[in-house]
C-alpha cells in the first residue's frame, strides 16, 4: 500500500467520522467545527485527484467563508448551548433507518466487480488554474456571468431579509 492509498483511507475515515459527528453532536458549534474538518478532508481528496484549484477554493469558500457565516449566526443568536429538545423517538429512529436504507441500496446498486481505476496523483493538469480559467472564460462565460447576477440577487435578498424592522 503506497502513500497515496494510505492518504485516501485516512482522509475517507476522517471525512466519514467527522460528518457523523456533525449530525450527532448536541451543541451546534461543535457541529460547525466538525463540518470544517470534513471540508478539509474533502479538500485533501481533491489534492489527491489533481484538482488543486478546487481544493483551494473549497477551503477558501466553504471552510473560510460559509462556515464563518454559520458560526457568526450561531454566536449572534446565542445558540451555543444544548437547547434542542428531543423529537419523538420513533421519528428519530425512522429517519436514521431511512437514511441507512438509502445508503445500503445505493451501495448495492452501484457495486461492480471490475471497477475502473482512478490513478491517484497520476498525470494530468486539468485541475490547474490556467486550464480551468481558459475554459471558464471562453466556453462557460455565459453561466459565469449569470452566476454573478445570482450573487447580486442573493446579496440583495440577504440584505432585505436581514434588515431590522420593516
Amino acid at each position: 500500500m503506497d502513500k497515496s492509498q494510505l492518504m485516501f483511507w485516512f482522509l475517507s475515515a476522517l471525512a466519514v467520522f467527522s460528518s457523523l459527528m456533525v449530525i450527532t453532536r448536541k451543541n451546534p458549534v461543535y457541529s460547525v467545527l466538525f463540518l470544517i474538518i470534513t471540508f478539509f478532508a474533502i479538500s485533501g481528496h481533491y489534492v489527491l485527484m489533481n484538482a488543486q484549484f478546487l481544493a483551494i477554493v473549497n477551503i477558501i469558500v466553504y471552510a473560510g467563508a460559509i462556515m464563518v457565516l454559520f458560526l457568526f449566526v450561531l454566536m449572534l443568536m446565542n445558540l451555543n448551548k444544548e437547547s434542542e429538545q428531543q423529537k419523538n423517538k420513533y421519528l428519530l429512529w425512522s429517519g436514521a433507518i431511512a437514511g441507512g436504507m438509502l445508503m445500503v441500496i445505493m451501495i448495492a446498486a452501484l457495486n461492480t466487480t471490475e471497477p475502473a481505476v482512478v490513478n491517484q496523483p497520476g498525470a494530468g493538469d486539468i485541475g490547474l488554474i490556467k486550464n480551468l480559467g481558459t475554459k471558464l472564460f471562453t466556453e462557460y462565460v455565459v453561466p459565469f456571468e449569470i452566476s454573478s447576477i445570482l450573487f447580486l440577487s442573493a446579496m440583495v435578498g440577504a440584505v432585505v431579509l436581514g434588515k431590522k424592522g420593516d
Binding site: 460528518s19 466553504y62 431511512a98 453561466p143 452566476s147
Partner: protein, 112 residues
C-alpha cells in the same frame, strides 16, 4: 483507487447528510447537512472528472483538457451553495427574531 471506492465514500457522506436532515430539529444543523450533501456530490464529480481525463488521454494523447467541464460544474455548485447559504441564513435570522427559536417545526409559520 477503484472508482467504486469514491462512489461509496460519496454515497456514505450523502446519506449521512440525508439522515441529519431527517433527524435533527435545529434548522442550522439541517442547513449544514445540506452543505454536506453538496460536498459529497462535488467529490464524486471530481473523481469522475479524473477518470474521464485518464480515459480520454489513452484514446487521444493530444486531448489534454478532457474532464475540465465537471470541475467547472463543481465550481458552479460552490457558487450556488454560497448564494444559498447567505439567503438561507438570513431567513433563519429572520425566523429567530420572530419566534426566538430555530426549531424546524416553527418554519411552518414564517410570516409573523
Amino acid at each position: 483507487m477503484p472508482i467504486t471506492y469514491y462512489i461509496f465514500l460519496a454515497v456514505i457522506i450523502f446519506c449521512i447528510g440525508v439522515t441529519g436532515v431527517l433527524t435533527r430539529r435545529n434548522s442550522i444543523i439541517v442547513f449544514m447537512c445540506i452543505e454536506l450533501m453538496l460536498n459529497a456530490v462535488n467529490l464524486l464529480l471530481v473523481a469522475f472528472s479524473k477518470l474521464h481525463h485518464q480515459r480520454m488521454l489513452v484514446l487521444d494523447a493530444a486531448n489534454v483538457t478532457a474532464g475540465t467541464e465537471s470541475q467547472l460544474f463543481v465550481f458552479f455548485i460552490m457558487v450556488v451553495a454560497a448564494a444559498e447559504v447567505s439567503v438561507g441564513l438570513a431567513i433563519i435570522v429572520m425566523m429567530y427574531r420572530a419566534v426566538h427559536s430555530v426549531d424546524i417545526n416553527f418554519l411552518n409559520r414564517l410570516k409573523n
